[in-house]
């Protein structure tokens, strides 16, 4: 039935957008059928989100035109987009934690100066949408008390409540378990059958294959391919995204397991509101192996790394690093850990791994600034630091190789290489690595993976946390799965199946 409508829901013609010197979207044209689910895939920075933000009026295109249901429209602000029936569910939810569901729903569509009537109307609308699409939610709950999946449903409700017929979802599964994702996709199917046009921005090819009708592939700001989903394969899409054949997986020898260098026993963390973030974590990492921690983000991996690295004190249990034991009473700090031979590539390099305003040379000694070779007689030897940084840059191919450049001025991949270089070059006995390739281009990913494996082969004990299942599978000798602050399962690297891991990530122990 939807296929019979000739007028496309969305038509973009030659959309172009630059931010300063970055050409984010280059002359993109595409057409999207009514009542379909369209995938928009591409690597980080390919321009998918920017393109959709233009469609939603968050940014204004430098040139080109937008047609909604055949009619040419100017998207000056999200208000225009909403008026034309376009709604967007952002990757980071646009929900106000301290507000109720209902307050969040009416924000921007209050229906008059006084709130009372609009709130009542919204309440009955929510009830209707619940009946039609099965989007059940308590309108009086506070957002802060809802699960991530529920919050996402509030976002979808918000969009539908404004009469959206075209729904854009930006990386909707990034924060969901595979099971929650499946539920989301069922809802999207119901919406499509009800005539809603859905656009899915994602870089997960599995999901594209599972739910979409057609796919656009973006690379470096351009749409490089358009496929009907039934006519394509994940391999083809991956190749289109990257622009060349990719080899998933890393060459590596079997692990030569040494002594246990990092051990956690009964490790717990309760925050000051009494919420348990880590609960009885037991793990052991031996020299010469990579242990991967898989899990949906926000299930305690971040906290685990922080506690192991000494950035946060545990509330229970013990940590043993190279024979030295820490516990709640004697949590130690990152400096003590470093002295024992622990290095840490943090999850969020911009927030933790480097100081954006510092020169690269200053960043290259972050955490090691007290070492005698950098600070003889308690005064920093700047020429020595610069020379050291230049060496690191050469060895790890950091570009541009300028120690005097501010850390912020390097690309994500080069920042990550600099952080990795700093940590690996101290030949650590234990290495904690969080999201080593987040926001990093493909070339740098291969390089980083190779370096990690080399570090392992030198006898280092590596604990790898990543939300990219592919990365975990490619690098790990053993895989632990985290869910709600627990370790819920373990499997050997070679034999793990994605499905089994997915079930464990959702908190269900695999049989």
């Amino acid at each position: 039935m939807p296929a019979m409508t000739a007028v496309p829901a969305i038509e973009l013609r030659a959309i172009d957008k630059s931010f300063g010197d970055v050409h984010a979207v280059r002359a993109v044209s595409l057409t999207i059928r009514k009542g379909s689910i369209t995938g928009l895939v591409g690597e980080n920075g390919a321009g998918k989100s920017t393109l959709m933000s233009i469609l939603y009026g968050l940014y204004r295109a430098d040139s080109g035109e937008i047609r909604v249901e055949g009619e040419r429209v100017e998207m000056g602000s999200p208000r225009d987009a909403i008026a034309h029936g376009i709604g967007m569910v952002h990757q980071h939810f646009m929900l106000i934690d301290s507000f109720t569901v209902l307050e969040n729903l009416v924000l921007g569509a209050e229906g008059g100066f006084l709130l009372g009537r609009g709130m009542a109307a919204a309440r009955s609308e929510v009830a209707r949408l619940e009946r039609e699409y099965g989007l059940s939610i308590d309108p009086d709950a506070r957002i802060a008390d809802l699960s991530v999946g529920e919050q996402q449903r509030v976002e979808i409700l918000k969009v539908l409540l404004r009469g959206a017929r075209i729904l854009i979802l930006d990386e909707p599964s990034a924060v969901l378990t595979p099971q929650e994702t499946e539920r989301l996709f069922r809802i999207l199917g119901v919406l499509r059958d009800g005539g809603v046009t859905v656009i899915l921005i994602t870089h997960k090819l599995r999901e594209v294959m599972a739910v979409t009708d057609q796919v656009f592939v973006m690379r470096q700001g351009e749409v490089v391919a358009e496929r009907r989903t039934v006519d394509t394969t994940p391999d083809e899409l991956a190749e289109l995204m990257v622009g060349r054949k990719v080899r998933l997986g890393v060459d590596r020898q079997p692990a030569r397991r040494g002594p246990a260098l990092l051990r956690a026993e009964g490790l717990s963390l309760v925050d000051r509101h009494g919420i348990g973030l880590l609960d009885g974590i037991d793990l052991e990492v031996h020299g010469g192996e990579i242990v991967g921690i898989a899990g949906v983000s926000g299930n305690g991996q971040t906290e685990l790394l922080q506690v192991l690295a000494g950035m946060r004190a545990p509330t229970g249990g013990t940590i043993t690093i190279c024979g030295r034991t820490f516990d709640a009473g004697h949590p130690g700090d990152p400096a003590e850990r470093r002295a024992l031979g622990l290095a840490h590539v943090p999850e969020d390099r911009l927030r933790q791994g480097l100081v954006a305003a510092f020169h690269a040379s200053e960043t290259s000694i972050l955490g090691y600034q007290n070492e005698a070779r950098f600070s003889p007689h308690h005064l920093i030897d700047r020429p020595a630091v610069r020379t050291y940084c230049a060496e690191l840059m050469q060895r790890f191919d950091v570009r541009p190789p300028l120690p005097g450049l501010r850390s912020a001025q390097f690309s994500g991949g080069n920042q990550q290489k600099l952080v990795l270089a700093r940590e690996i070059s101290h030949e650590p006995k234990v290495l904690l690595v969080g999201q080593p390739t987040r926001g990093v281009d493909i070339g740098a990913i291969e390089f980083i993976h190779r370096e990690l494996v080399r570090c392992r082969d030198r006898g280092c004990a590596i604990l790898l946390v990543s939300v990219e299942l592919d990365e975990i599978l490619a690098l790990s000798d053993r895989i632990l799965v985290m869910s709600s602050g627990h370790i819920v399962g373990e499997s050997a690297g070679g034999t793990a199946s994605e499905r089994a891991l997915g079930l464990m990530m959702a908190g269900m122990k695999a049989a």
């Binding site: 300063g20 950035m311 990152p334 927030r351 100081v355 305003a357 972050l366 955490g367």
Partner: protein
């Protein structure tokens, strides 16, 4: 507002932008002077003459500049640690109390070469202690340092009034001030003006602060905390201790205003001697881009304004000394709050690069 974020060439950032900001501030001052009914150029001439026209006026200028160096450095050090210390006024007040109490207690017994260092240390200690309370509250209890340092200015003022009215007042005195310091508690004056040896302390502080911030691992950690606390934590810095260090240093520097004012000039404990130097320190630090050299230059300018402004007010009845306060406010406004104002204009000059 496009163009606010666009990065400009380094020399524009360091030289042109601040220069435009300062120029805007003084342009506004000129307009205000005109509103008051005085010819701005005439006023400027009198001001410059008043500031540097005679050895005595230069002495005054340097004496005022000494205070501005102390409070400017105080703001700058805290700023590098990511802390906005608005409590310079109270810390200066307490610094004065520290050196005053030390001198009142010991000036009968100690020679000057022993009394002076002890009094200076006491000023630093009291100033640091007054800054330590807000610092402790922020580090351990999470209360915001901006609010607590403001509140502590008022508490300091109430405390000093109480002490000078009820406790430290000289016997038989009608005004709330202490007895005069003995000779060993007085710093030698220079050049027949209030200028005294404190200026040497101020210069030493400039060098010390520069060495500390850019040449020691502690200064490195402090700056790391200021730019990115989480990265500093990651680097093994104890954020709580470092917050205390930054604020105590800041408070100690502000406390040295007491040395210049009380040991150098008043030679007794008096009320209200910080006279706005603590707040002006914000303007000095902003104008000096939080660098000791910049702070020293900005302090010199503000010292000249203070002295020249006083002379100007003496010569031209339509202008009062508070004109200097107006200038301080405008400098903070234009080089601080409105620092981005000229950015779009400058960005417009820069040709867009072809993609």
């Amino acid at each position: 507002m496009t163009g606010l974020r666009r990065s400009l060439p380094a020399w524009v950032e360091i030289l042109v932008l601040p220069a435009i900001n300062i120029a805007l501030a003084f342009l506004t001052v000129g307009v205000i002077v005109m509103i008051v009914g005085v010819d701005p150029l005439q006023a400027l001439k009198l001001l410059v003459l008043g500031a540097v026209g005679s050895p005595e006026s230069i002495g005054y200028t340097l004496y005022y500049a000494t205070n501005f160096v102390f409070t400017g450095l105080a703001v700058a050090v805290a700023f590098h640690g990511g802390l906005f210390n608005i409590g310079g006024e109270g810390q200066a007040y307490l610094g004065g109390l520290g050196c005053g109490v030390a001198i009142l207690a010991l000036d009968q017994y100690l020679p000057i070469w022993l009394m002076v260092p002890i009094a200076i240390a006491a000023a630093a200690l009291f100033g640091a202690a007054w800054a330590a309370v807000p610092a402790w509250l922020q580090a351990w209890r999470g209360s915001h340092i901006v609010i607590t340092t403001i509140m502590f200015n008022f508490v300091a003022s109430a405390l000093m009034v109480y002490l000078l009215v009820n406790v430290l007042i000289a016997p038989g005195s009608m005004t709330p001030q202490s007895r005069g310091f003995g000779p060993s508690g007085q710093l030698p004056a220079l050049a027949g003006s209030p200028l005294n040896l404190s200026i040497v302390l101020a210069l030493a502080c400039c060098v010390g602060v520069w060495l500390f911030l850019w040449r020691t691992p502690w200064g490195y950690a402090l700056r790391a905390m200021g730019h990115n606390p989480e990265a500093a934590l990651y680097a093994g810095t104890n954020l709580r201790s470092m917050t205390m260090v930054a604020m105590c240093l800041s408070g100690a520097l502000a406390g040295f205003v007491g040395v210049n004012e009380l040991m150098g000039v008043h030679h007794r404990l008096v009320l209200d001697f910080p006279a706005g130097y603590g707040f002006a320190g914000i303007a000095v630090a902003l104008m000096g881009r939080n660098h000791p050299l910049g702070v020293a230059l900005a302090a010199l300018l503000f010292g000249a304004l203070q002295q020249g402004g006083a002379e100007l007010a003496f010569d031209v009845p339509a202008i009062t000394r508070e004109m200097v306060v107006v200038i301080q406010g405008l400098v903070i406004l234009f080089s601080g709050a409105l620092v981005n104002l000229p950015r779009p204009w400058l960005a417009a000059f820069r040709p867009r690069q072809a993609p």
